[in-house]
């Protein structure tokens, strides 16, 4: 089995699907010849030609709007938005058309489109190149929102996303694009959308994270174990639809819930998970849930970035607060 980093795993999934299905087109700003600013689509234009893999004018709105037009005729577009911070010119298309078409047309017209975009902080980038605004998209009815945390999942989730007959927003944690490799099977396989994974069993506390924050979570969990707290770690993998059962089962076992994400705290994914637990497992809670999140501020430029980005220490601090409550 070849070892791949996140970029290679995504590239591999794209290649497999492009080879398998001629109805798939891949396009975006600088995504063709250059292979994207992160080189995630590198080599695909050379392999599949300019009709299948192409560069577009600099305009996100038409990327999604034209993508919808292609999709209703039976094509399956894969669209690259260069950075998640540049999705906003296309928000109109995403919210008013792409996500609504199936329901409005009572299932006659569908939009099997995959929208890929790098997101997230910690890379000392320019303004609007570091945000984590997944909660906005989780709030849009009709969209599926997927965030992988490792190469193996990325490939399997992306193949599932491309095969989904609903629009899927596939958010790529760019901080870990090249930070580690994993054994990834060469052939196609699927990781189902809407299924979280328990990456570590534990008894004392449930910690939910996703994307690049899984690395932060793992470090915190290791340290917590040394300090006597046995944390169960869940990788959410899909923001919508949320895997309620996996989270609820875990909280029923541990009695404590903590959620970690980079995006702003208010109205975030953590808030949603805590609501679900309140609705269905309130009686199991031994302490108030904790959120370790970004702040309700714009993402600071790099000199202030380290304050904003959640760290393993912030998770440990929250764990200590939770334990103090029990005593």
């Amino acid at each position: 089995m070849p070892a791949m980093n996140l970029v290679q795993a995504i590239n591999n999934a794209l290649e497999i699907k492009l080879r398998e299905d001629e109805d798939i087109l891949l396009f975006g700003e600088d995504a063709g010849l250059e292979g994207g600013v992160f080189r995630v689509t590198q080599g695909l234009q050379a392999k599949f030609g300019e009709r299948r893999v192409f560069d577009t004018p600099l305009s996100e709105s038409v990327l999604l709007g034209a993508g919808l037009g292609m999709a209703v005729t039976g094509l399956r577009p894969i669209v690259e938005i260069q950075f998640s911070g540049f999705m906003y010119p296309a928000m109109n298309q995403l919210v008013t058309h792409v996500s609504r078409m199936r329901n409005r047309s009572r299932g006659v017209f569908t939009v099997p489109m995959t929208i890929r975009m790098p997101y997230g902080g910690g890379i000392r980038a320019l303004e609007l190149h570091s945000e984590s605004m997944e909660a906005i998209y989780g709030h849009v009815p009709g969209l599926k929102v997927v965030i992988p945390s490792c190469p193996y999942d990325a490939k399997g989730l992306l193949i599932s996303a491309i095969e989904s007959n609903d629009p899927v927003l596939f958010m790529e944690p760019k901080k870990i694009y090249r930070s580690f490799r994993q054994d990834v099977p060469e052939e196609a396989y699927r990781v189902p959308l809407g299924k979280a994974s328990v990456t570590r069993q534990g008894e004392d506390l449930t910690l939910v994270a996703y994307g690049a924050m899984m690395r932060v979570a793992s470090k915190a969990v290791e340290q917590a174990a040394k300090e006597g707290t046995d944390v169960e770690l869940i990788d959410l993998r899909t923001i919508y639809p949320l895997d309620r059962e996996t989270v609820l089962d875990s909280v029923r076992k541990t009695g404590r819930l903590m959620v970690l994400h980079e995006g702003p705290k208010t109205f975030g994914v953590a808030a949603e998970l805590i609501s679900i637990v309140n609705e269905e497992a309130m009686e199991y809670l031994e302490a108030p849930p904790q959120r370790v999140c970004g702040f309700d501020t714009i993402m600071p430029l790099p000199m202030g970035e380290d304050h904003y980005m959640p760290t393993p220490e912030r998770v440990l601090y929250a764990i200590e607060k939770m334990k103090a409550f029990a005593e």
Binding site: E29, V37, L58, S59, Y88, P89, R124, L126
Partner: protein
């Protein structure tokens, strides 16, 4: 002037040729500039060039983060702003360092911003200069609004805004120019056609022959200007400003130029363009042309050039040191500028974070 340069016929305003000689056809458009003004303009271009070159080397040394440069586009950046008044508004994109410096920005601020400090957007004396804009062409609509406000208040200022060839593909380009034309806002829309939008050549953006001709459909004058010719840039901007101040509305200027450097320090142009092409533009460098013109008039010489480059290099090094000695962003600064007064939830987040810092310290 605009009647003489029909963008549909591909006409271009040029005053100097590549060797710095005044073209016959250009004489008529020669802007009135005193010797001091000429020297001042040229110096500003050189200062911008040196600042960009230094910044790239600081980036290579790991002292600042990724940044774009305006190398090759100094005539357009400087000439436009020098042709305007201090009370005019500048709405920048991110590739007009020469104009920003001419408008009152500082090298230290530029380096501070690209070292990751928001203080880099706060210029001495608060000139009418909006912070740089990252989302392509979004700023064009802001200039339309500033122009609207000028009309509403009966002022005679103008707003100038900058964007790229790639930027003309965005919806905001259409919306901003359309608004300004409808309300006859005094806005100068400067499209720096530097032939590339990252890896994509100009032809990948539009089926139009020229970018300036898009003005025709909006109902405003549009003109192609040799963007590497400082004098042509000044002449065109003055004409556009006069047009705006006279209540005639906006103008679109396509500055025909070339991005001589990479898109940003993280870009590799060898993937999408040839060395030969890059070399063919070296002779068209706006600094070479203006320098030849100045030397011919005995306004400039090699000694002055060397002294200026040295002086500016030292100024940049000093600014870089100052930025490196800046205090890191204080925790409060992350929170306190978000609203006029901090909402309770934000206050809670800040206090909780400070408590965390204290806890971490005590561990």
């Amino acid at each position: 002037m605009f009647d003489s340069f029909d963008p549909l016929k591909g006409k271009m305003l040029r005053i100097l040729d590549e060797r710095g000689k005044v073209l016959k056809a250009g004489q008529k458009w020669m802007p009135e500039l005193s010797d001091e003004e000429l020297v001042d303009g040229y110096r500003a271009m050189v200062r911008a060039r040196v600042a960009d070159e230094r910044a790239v080397s600081y980036q290579r040394q790991g002292r600042i983060f990724t940044l774009p440069t305006n190398i090759g586009q100094e005539a357009s950046a400087v000439g436009t702003i020098k042709a305007l008044r201090p009370d005019d508004w500048m709405v920048q994109s991110y590739r007009e360092l020469g104009g920003v410096l001419a408008k009152g920005g500082t090298v230290k601020n530029h380096l501070a911003y690209f070292s990751g400090s928001e203080t880099g957007s706060v210029h001495p004396g608060n000139p009418r200069l909006l912070p740089l804009s990252v989302p392509i062409t979004s700023q064009v609509t802001h200039a339309a609004g500033i122009g609207h406000s000028i009309v509403y208040r009966g002022g005679d200022e103008v707003a100038i805004t900058f964007f790229g060839d790639g930027g003309t593909s965005q919806g905001d380009f259409n919306e901003g120019l359309n608004w300004a034309a409808v309300y006859k806002c005094p806005v100068i829309f400067v499209c720096n056609n530097n032939q590339y939008a990252i890896s994509l050549g100009r032809a990948a953006q539009t089926g139009s022959e020229t970018l300036a001709q898009k003005a025709v459909a909006f109902g405003m004058p549009g003109m192609i200007v040799d963007g590497n010719d400082y004098l042509a840039v000044v002449a065109a901007t003055r004409a556009a400003a006069e047009h705006g101040r006279a209540g005639k509305g906006p103008v679109l200027l396509e500055m025909y130029t070339y991005r001589m450097g990479a898109h940003t320090t993280s870009d590799d142009p060898s993937i999408y363009r040839s060395k030969e092409e890059e070399e063919s533009w070296l002779a068209k460098d706006p600094l070479i042309r203006m320098k030849a013109f100045m030397v011919e008039r005995k306004l400039w010489d090699e000694d002055k050039e060397e002294a200026l480059r040295k002086e500016m290099g030292a100024e940049c090094d000093e600014a870089m040191r100052e930025v490196e000695n800046m205090d890191p962003t204080p925790v409060e600064d992350i929170f306190r500028y978000q609203y006029e007064s901090m909402p309770p939830e934000l206050e809670r987040q800040m206090q909780d974070y400070k408590a965390f810092l204290a806890w971490k310290e005590s561990r």
